[in-house]
Symmetry: C2
Subunit: 231 residues, 2 copies
């Protein structure tokens, strides 16, 4: 048996999450907007607050809502996501990091190719911004990662972007560590630069090849590095 919950009446909690999402959508709320308070929802559904809170916690786990103590509950950033980074990720091992790079090696070259084919002006601009900002990160150390997400965005398919963003998000801490072990920002930047140029030129084959090589460089650096444990 795979799932015991097949054809079974969904739990109250399940129905409640759906109902709350219904309220959000019917009211046309987007990320950042406030939703009714737990007490208000409790009244509306004729339930008690702990029950409401359970449902809200489920929504919180997937980023659909966000609690702000003393302030209220708000629509989260990933409410419209199709796929998510697991917030309860297993501990990090060298193997898991290599697995991540392996997956990216399968997917990202094809994504770069698609970006070179698509070549939408707006996306190219964002890509350009990502590659130039990389050397002077304004938003912290994780900002440089955005290049790869922007590359995915440049494919023109939001779902592909979402997929890459999720893939990179789960391993932010590893990526930061990789960056410490293998801090070759100049080469990184050069390679990013070359990829962007290929995309701009619409040279799909080059974009694909350069992305593959770029990831292979990172892969080799990780394989060579000894990997201390994280806290």
């Amino acid at each position: 048996m795979t799932y015991s919950t097949v054809g079974v009446t969904p739990s109250l909690s399940d129905r409640l999450t759906e109902a709350i999402l219904g309220i959000i959508r019917d009211a046309g709320l987007g990320p950042g907007d406030a939703i009714p308070s737990a007490r208000e929802l409790a009244k509306r559904f004729e339930l008690t607050t702990p029950t409401i809170r359970e449902a809200l916690r489920k929504l919180e786990a997937t980023g659909a809502v966000e609690f702000r103590h003393g302030s209220g509950t708000y629509v989260g950033p990933t409410i419209n996501n199709v796929v998510l980074a697991n917030p309860h990720r297993p501990p990090i091992t060298k193997e898991s990091v290599l697995q991540l790079i392996g997956a990216r090696l399968v997917i990202e070259p094809a994504v770069a190719r698609e970006a070179a084919v698509s070549r939408q002006p707006e996306n190219l601009e964002r890509l350009e911004a990502a590659v130039t900002n990389a050397l002077t990160p304004p938003g912290g150390p994780a900002f440089a990662l955005n290049f790869h997400v922007e590359l995915a965005a440049a494919s023109g398919n939001p779902l592909v972007e979402e997929l890459l963003a999720s893939l990179l998000k789960v391993r932010v801490r590893e990526q930061q560590q990789i960056r410490q072990l293998y801090d070759n920002r100049n080469r990184d930047h050069e390679e990013h630069r070359a990829i962007v140029d290929a995309v701009r030129a619409g040279d799909a084959a080059a974009a694909e090849r350069l992305t593959r090589e770029h990831l292979e460089h990172i892969q080799r650096a990780i394989e060579a590095a000894d990997f201390p444990e994280l806290p």
Copy 2:
């Protein structure tokens, strides 16, 4: 501002989910195993059951645990996942389904190529089983989808498999509907067959091309179909 929870002390609920996951991992529990009861956990953490339940609900939302009323709480199937299908997915539109196919068109050909390169005997066997079982599905209508997941598994990278499985899982209902509108099982099967043969032969280029064409066929069928709303 993107996240208000940066550098802030994580909430009790957050720490609790981590602690519970710690218990699961320390005890070496896997999917299907029972975890301590909510009352037991409440005693252990010196908290009350609603608080514990909130944490468990968060874990439930990501498939890390599963409630079974009257029986207990068990480790869920996706506890070790890196990336997840959003259980609170937005409503379906024709556009969203086309977006999904678009993303698959970017990714899956590259995955098929990788499978043809990897060619591990065990994976080939599972792939074979998936393609032969497709015509006589023993596990319901969604079973035929497994071909594409198995193809991803054949790439040799579990994360790639996870990614594809998540991608297909969010749209199970759409896929079922597609299957109703475009029930061309014979052609489907033939095309699957051809892809498997290419993978078996180690012909990466053919595997890639055939997978792309297969998805393009589906894409065209969806574009042509008018898309009724779901309940």
